[in-house]
Subunit: 212 residues, 2 copies
DNA sequence: GCAGATTATGACTTCATAGTCATATTTTAT
DNA sequence: ATAAAATATGACTATGAAGTCATAATCTGC
């Protein structure tokens, strides 16, 4: 947890510090990240970082928390997260992610890294929670889909989830790569390609998990 | 590259050193791995490690190479790797991986970590090559599947590959977790569960990518 | 415009470990 | 059996980054 001093800082400085930290951790990994560099990039002195946080680990953990909270706010504003069909969920999720990657590539990269356990045990606890929230929701969608007869009911929910998550995760990575390529505004053509990709994937999902 | 001294060592010592190194890197990550501990676990002095390798990085890179070569030997011995159907490929691949995880959990964990880029840029070059070999083969299976009419031909090969890989990777992780749980001989029941899981997954794949 | 509180700073200390090297031990060749 | 070559060892050095702290600058309320 950050110290009182950090909490009372004005938003602008807080954000500068957090983005500098996240950028450093994302680029170099926890061990290689240098507090000195983070301070430099945030435009403060190294000593200040230690007025804000207990130690390096504290700073790292708060970087994770900060990122999660950032996305929480984003998502709250966008999706109503009501009871959707799982295919809609994939569709809107993919689009949402695509937008986020374009707007906040750093935060998305960082989130993917800690979700996938790239920082060893460090971020495990916090990110496991996050994962489970998503998972719970997806399981609900699957159960509802079965009732609604849009999902085959001859298979275990857990297995269907595995299938769905596998496709989703890999696909997210793909979308990330594409988004990186067109740094600025994507062309009409690229947007169409993206759209086609997403829709084809939905088709594959539907075909696989759906009741045919 | 290891020094001449290391290459001339007897197999037993070489293996002890490599397994100690891999164990350390896998458990603690590159930066946190301590040469002293590796030496200790291999039953040699710290100085000896530096008679064998240029530096820490050299040792790490060779750990990756050694692991890849180990699996190459394994796989060569098992699968004929002829022209299979992609569903058979998934099936036999899953079983093969299951066996490997039980036999060499450490090496598999390590391989998964560096394949997924957990060591930052360090292992990137070597492991990208490995990935591409697999990918090339899988693309061939997809192309053949289309000809043979076991795979739908209304979709891009790359997209089908993405779909296939997503499912496969996530599934491998799941299998890993299960294999960890029954450390010793799996019970009859557990083996059946495993078998069921694999077969259900094949069904989902077939349904999704297949020509229906 | 002053005093007390808060925040900022970077030179300095501490600490851990990568990497060295002089010496000891073992192996090989004759 | 002996000398030369190869290998092993761990105390020692060098390095670099985390974390400290005394002091300076800034802010806040009166």
């Amino acid at each position: 947890m950050p110290k009182r001093t950090f909490i009372r800082l004005d938003e602008d400085k807080k954000e500068r510090v957090m983005r500098a930290a996240i950028g450093e951790f994302q680029a170099r990994g926890y061990e290689d990240a240098k507090i000195e560099d983070i301070a430099q990039n945030a435009g403060v002195a190294k000593g200040s970082i230690y007025q804000y946080f207990e130690d390096k680990k504290d700073l790292f953990l708060y970087s994770v928390t900060w990122t999660i909270e950032y996305f929480m706010k984003m998502i709250d504003r966008q999706t109503p997260l009501k009871d959707m069909d799982i295919y809609e969920y994939f569709l809107s999720g993919s689009r949402e992610r695509f937008e986020m990657i374009r707007k906040e590539p750093l935060l998305v990269s960082f989130a993917i890294d800690f979700t996938q356990g790239k920082y060893g045990g460090l971020a495990e606890e916090i990110s496991r929670e996050l994962k489970q929230v998503g998972e719970q929701y997806e399981l609900k969608l699957i159960a509802n889909g079965k009732k609604r007869r849009t999902i085959r009911d001859d298979m275990d929910d857990k297995l269907l989830l595995l299938f769905f998550q596998g496709v989703t995760e890999k696909f997210t990575m793909r979308v990330m790569e594409m988004a990186k390529n067109f740094k600025y505004e994507p062309t009409e053509e690229q947007l169409l390609e993206m759209k086609g990709l997403i829709e084809s994937m939905v088709l594959l999902l539907k075909q696989g998990m759906g009741r045919n």
